[in-house]
Amino acid sequence: MTDTLHTSKPPLTASPGWQLTKFAFYALLLCVALLLLLGFLTEKFNVGATSTSAVNFEKNTITLSLTSEPPQMDSTRATDMVSGMLLGHIMEGLIRYGPDNEILPGVAESWDMGELAGTFYLRKDAFWSNGTPVTAHDFVFSWQTALNPATASQYAFVLYPIKNGKAINIGEAELDSFGAKAVDDYTLSIELEQPTPYFIKLLAFFTYLPINKEFYESREGNYGTNAEDMIYNGPFHMTRWVHDKDVRLEKNEYYWNNSETRLDAIEFGYITPDPNTALNLFATGKIVLAGLNAENIERALTEGWRIETHSDGSVFYLGFNHREERPTSNLNLRKAIQQVCDPEELVYKVLKTPGNIPGKSIFPVWLRGVNGFFRDEYPGPDHKRNVASAQEYLQKALDELGLDEPPSLVFLTGDSAFSAKHAEYYQSMLKEKLGIEIKIDKQIFKQRLAKMTSGEYDIVAAGWGPDYDDVLTFGDLFTSWNANNRGLYHNEELDRQVEIAQQSSDPKTRMDAMDRVQHILYEDAAIIFEYERGSVYVFDDRVKGVTRRSVGTDPDYTRAYIEEEVDS
C-alpha cells in the first residue's frame, strides 16, 4: 500500500534537467501565444495609436512627431527648439525667413532702417485669430514683457540691442524708457542702443514675436499654457493641445497671406524623444519625418528610404572653467588637452553620422563672410593631434601647478545616452594619452546650466546654436560681459575685437575682427572645437516644399504641400 503511494508520485529530484526543459518550453510557448494574442488585439482595436497616417490626401493633412512636449507657448519665455519650431508656424514677427533664408516682409510691410533707429510700417490686413488687428502695440507689449525682470525670460538678452533693453532687464530703467515705441497702431519706431548691423535678421527670432496685450491679460498668467489660452497671427493656429500626447495645427484663415498656406492641418500626433520609436512610426507610415542615429542608419538603407542630411547650424565644443581655483585656469594644461583632441576621430569614429563636420573654429561653415562664406575667406586655425607636444605642455602645467601627477578633472555633461558615450570617449582618451583622470558628471540640462553658472566643473560639453544669421551670434559668446560665458573666460584682446565687430558696419573690418577671435580662442585654448552638428533623417517625399534651416524655424512646413498621387 505504502509502496504504491510512494511510486505514484515521481521523486522530487528525478531527472531535474528534463523537468526544467519542459517547464522552460511551456513558459516560452505561453509567452509566444500571449505576444500573438496581444498583437492581434492591438491590430483589431487599434490601441495606442490614432488612426492617422503620415500623409492624408483627403484631409490635406500631414502627421509628424515631436521630440518633447513644449513647456509652454509663451514666446517671451520660450527657450527650447520644439517651442521655437511651433511658434514659427503659429506666430509671425515683423519679418520672416523665406525658403532660401532671404528676409521677407512679415507683419511689417516695409521699413526704413538707419544705423541707430528705424521705423516699421505694419500691414493693415494682419489679424489675430480672434479677428482683432495686429498692431504696433502688440510688439511693444511683448518685448516689454520679455524684458520685465519679473518675467525672468532667459532670452531677454536677444532684445538688448534695442535702446534701454538691458537696463530695463536688470531693473535699472523704467519700462517707459524702452527704445521701441508705437507711434500709432501701424507704425513702430525703434531706437537702438548702438549700431547693430544684423538687427533686421534678429526680428524673426521668437522673442521678437508679438502678443496681444488684452488677450494676454485676460488669461491671468495662463497665457500660452493651452491651445485656447492663446491667439495666433501665423499661417497656422493651434486647435488642440493634449499635453504630453499631441498637438494639432490648422490653417489660420485670418492670416494675411493664407493663400500661400497649402496644407489644411499639421498633426503632431506623437511626442517621443526616442529615435527608434520615431523610426518605427515612420516605418509604419505614421509620420512624415524621423531622425536617424549611427545605430539605425543601416535599417534605413536596407528599407530603401531616402536619407537626407541637415546641419542645424550649431557648434559643439568643450568649455573650460577659467575660475582661478580650478586647474583648468592653467593655460598649459588646457593646451595639453587641446593638443590630444582630434575632432576628426570624434566625428568619424565616435559620432559616426554624416552631416557632422569636424570642428575647426567657433564659427560654423555656413556663416557669411565679406563676399562668400566666412570660413572660405578665413579658414581658421590649423589643428592636428600632437601627443608629444601635449605631454610637454602637461609637464609645464604640472610644474606651474606644483603637482606631481596630472589632476583629476570633472567633466560635466548631459544625461542622454549620447552624452555618456561622448564623455567616456574623452575619459579613456585623456587617461591613455595624458594620464588625466576624468570624473563624469551627468546632469539634466537645467542642472547643468546651474552648475556651469556656479562653476562646479572643469570641462563641460557645450554647444551653441545661432539665434540670428550673423557671425556675432557666435563671436560674442566668450566676451567678459556675455552671461553665457559661464566658464568666465576673460581676454581683453578678444573683448576689443568683438566691440569692433559690433560697432563697425564695414564687413571687412568686422570679419577681420572675427578672424582674430577664432585664433585667440584657439591659441588661448579657451575652448576646444569639437564638431558642427548635423543630422541625417528620413523623409516622406510625397510632401514637398518643406524648408530645413540652420537659423530660424526648422523644419518649416508653412509652405509645405502634398504632391498629387500619381499612379506609377
Binding site: T13, G17, E298, L301, K349, K421, E432, K439, D441
Partner: protein
C-alpha cells in the same frame, strides 16, 4: 557465592550494528546536494563564474578601459587579417580642368589606391554644368529611381572631383554613387556607382607600435598580420567585451555576496533576539521590522545617494550597499525569529538552561547553529536578487560610473545598438541570466538538502 556465581554478562555482540557510517546533519545534506544534478551543475557554474571574475583577468590580459576606435562594435567573428602598408599618404584633392561635353553623370568613378577600413578615396571625371557633386554610400546595389543611400559628402565645385570617406567603414561591400548637383542643390537624374570592398590595412609604424611585428626590415608591404582577437567582440568604443565582462563580474559578484552577508548578519541578530526573548522585546522588534519592510527601496536608494553627498562622477556602489543592507534584513529576521521560537521549546535548550547556560550561550550555541539551514538557503536566494538589483540600478544609471563596467550598465549600452550589433547586449544579458539562474537553482537544491523532514531514512 562463588566468583562463578557472578559472571559478567557477555556484551551483546551484533545486537545493534551500524550498517552505515553515522552522518552528521551537514554530511547528510552534502550527500543529498551531490545527488542533485541540477544543484551541482549550478554550483560548478558559480565556481566557474568566480574563477572567471577573479582569475580571468590574470589570463586574459586585455585592458577593459582601452579604446580601439578602429574597431568599434566589432563582432567576434570578424576577419582579423590586416595587410601591411607603408605610411599613409596625405590626402590631396583632385582638381581637373573645366569639362566639356553633355554627359549628365561622371563617366566613371574609381577608387584611389586601396579601399581601406580607415579611408576610401574616390575620384571621378568632371561633369559639365554641374555646380558640385554629392557622394552617396549604400550597402545594397543602387538602382535608378531609388534612393542612392547615405549622403556621405558633397563637393562644391565641378572641378573638384575627389572625395575621401572616413565615416565608420566596415569590412563589407559598399556601393559609392556620385551624382552631379545643379545650382539649387538638386541631384541630376543620372549617377555613376562603384562597388568597393574595403579591407583591413595597418601601417608598418602602427604594427610596430602595437607589437604585431618586431622588426620592420623583415616585413614588406603586402604581408598580412593577424590583429588582436576579441573573443566576444568589442563595444561601441572598441573596448574588449571579454575583459569588460570579467571586470563587470567582479563588481556584480562582490556586491552580490557582500551585501547579503551583511544584511543576513543583521537579520540573524535581530531575529534571534526577538525570538528568544519574546514578549515586549519581540513585538517591538517585529513592529520595527514591519516598518522597514514597508520602506520603498528605490526611493531610499536615491535618498542615500543624496545623503552620502556623492560627488560628481562618484560611484553609487557604497550608497547601494548601504541601502541594500539597511532595507533587506527584515526577511531574514522574520525567518530566524520563527525558527528560534520553535527551537527554544526543545528539550535540549531547557536542559542547557537548567545546567546554567546564559542567554548568550543559549543563543550562540543552540539557536543560531540550528537556524543555519534556513539562513543558508535565504542567502543563496539573496545573492541573485542582489546581483539583479545591482544590474537594474546600473542599467538605469544609478550604479557604477564609467569606465567601470557592470553587467547592467553594459546591457544599457548594448540595448541601443541591439539591432545592428546584438552581441553588445547579448553577452552581458546572458551572464546576468546564467548567474541569477545558477544561484537560484543552487538555493533550491540547498533547501531540499537541508530540509530535515526530507532526510534520508533508507
Amino acid at each position: 557465592m562463588t566468583e562463578l556465581s557472578f559472571r559478567p554478562v557477555e556484551t551483546a555482540q551484533d545486537v545493534e550494528k551500524t550498517s552505515r557510517p553515522s552522518l552528521s546533519y551537514w554530511q547528510d545534506a552534502w550527500l543529498r546536494l551531490v545527488a542533485n544534478k541540477r544543484a551541482m551543475t549550478s554550483l560548478f557554474v558559480i565556481i566557474f563564474l568566480i574563477l572567471f571574475a577573479y582569475l580571468g583577468p590574470l589570463v586574459w590580459r586585455a585592458d577593459h578601459t582601452e579604446q580601439h576606435l578602429d574597431k568599434t562594435s566589432q563582432a567576434p567573428w570578424v576577419n582579423r587579417n590586416a595587410i601591411l602598408i607603408a605610411e599613409e599618404a596625405e590626402w590631396e584633392d583632385v582638381v581637373v580642368a573645366d569639362p566639356t561635353g553633355t554627359h549628365q553623370a561622371p563617366m566613371s568613378v574609381e577608387v584611389i589606391g586601396e579601399a581601406r577600413t580607415t579611408s576610401v578615396g574616390l575620384k571621378w571625371d568632371a561633369v559639365p554644368n554641374a555646380a558640385g557633386y554629392r557622394i552617396y554610400r549604400h550597402i545594397l546595389e543602387p538602382k535608378a529611381g531609388f534612393p542612392l543611400g547615405l549622403p556621405i559628402g558633397e563637393t562644391e565645385d565641378r572641378t573638384h572631383v575627389s572625395f575621401q570617406d572616413r565615416m565608420d567603414i566596415q569590412q563589407k561591400t559598399y556601393w559609392y554613387s556620385v551624382a552631379a548637383v545643379d545650382e539649387d542643390g538638386k541631384d541630376f537624374e543620372e549617377f555613376t556607382s562603384v562597388e568597393v570592398r574595403p579591407r583591413l590595412y595597418i601601417t608598418v609604424g602602427e604594427a610596430l607600435r602595437l607589437g604585431y611585428i618586431t622588426d620592420a626590415s623583415k616585413v614588406e608591404p603586402g604581408d598580412t598580420v593577424l590583429l588582436d582577437w576579441h573573443p566576444l567582440g568589442t563595444d561601441y568604443l572598441g573596448r574588449d567585451m571579454l575583459a569588460r565582462l570579467m571586470k563587470g563580474a567582479q563588481v556584480s559578484l562582490s556586491i552580490g555576496i557582500v551585501a547579503p552577508l551583511l544584511f543576513i548578519i543583521i537579520g540573524i541578530l535581530i531575529g534571534s533576539v526577538a525570538g528568544f526573548f519574546g514578549g515586549a522585546v519581540d513585538s517591538a522588534l517585529m513592529r520595527f521590522t514591519d516598518f522597514v519592510i514597508a520602506l520603498p527601496f528605490l526611493l531610499f536608494m536615491i535618498l542615500f545617494m543624496v545623503w552620502f553627498g556623492i560627488e560628481a562622477g562618484g560611484s553609487g556602489i557604497p550608497a547601494m550597499v548601504v541601502a541594500l543592507v539597511l532595507l533587506s534584513w527584515p526577511g531574514v529576521a522574520r525567518l530566524v525569529r520563527g525558527e528560534v521560537l520553535q527551537i527554544r521549546e526543545h528539550g535540549y535548550v531547557e536542559a542547557s538552561r537548567l545546567l546554567g547556560g546564559s542567554n548568550s550561550w543559549l543563543i550562540g550555541r543552540h539557536m543560531i547553529p540550528n537556524t543555519m539551514g534556513v539562513v543558508l538557503v535565504s542567502f543563496t536566494f539573496a545573492v541573485p536578487a542582489t546581483i539583479f538589483t545591482e544590474a537594474f540600478l546600473s542599467f538605469i544609471g544609478m550604479g557604477v560610473v564609467p569606465p567601470t563596467p557592470s553587467w547592467g550598465a553594459m546591457c544599457n549600452d548594448g540595448i541601443r545598438t541591439m539591432e545592428k550589433t546584438p552581441h553588445e547586449l547579448l553577452f552581458p544579458a546572458l551572464f546576468i541570466s546564467i548567474t541569477v539562474l545558477a544561484f537560484n537553482l543552487l538555493g533550491d537544491g540547498l533547501r531540499d538538502a537541508l530540509d530535515a523532514r526530507l532526510r534520508s531514512r533508507e
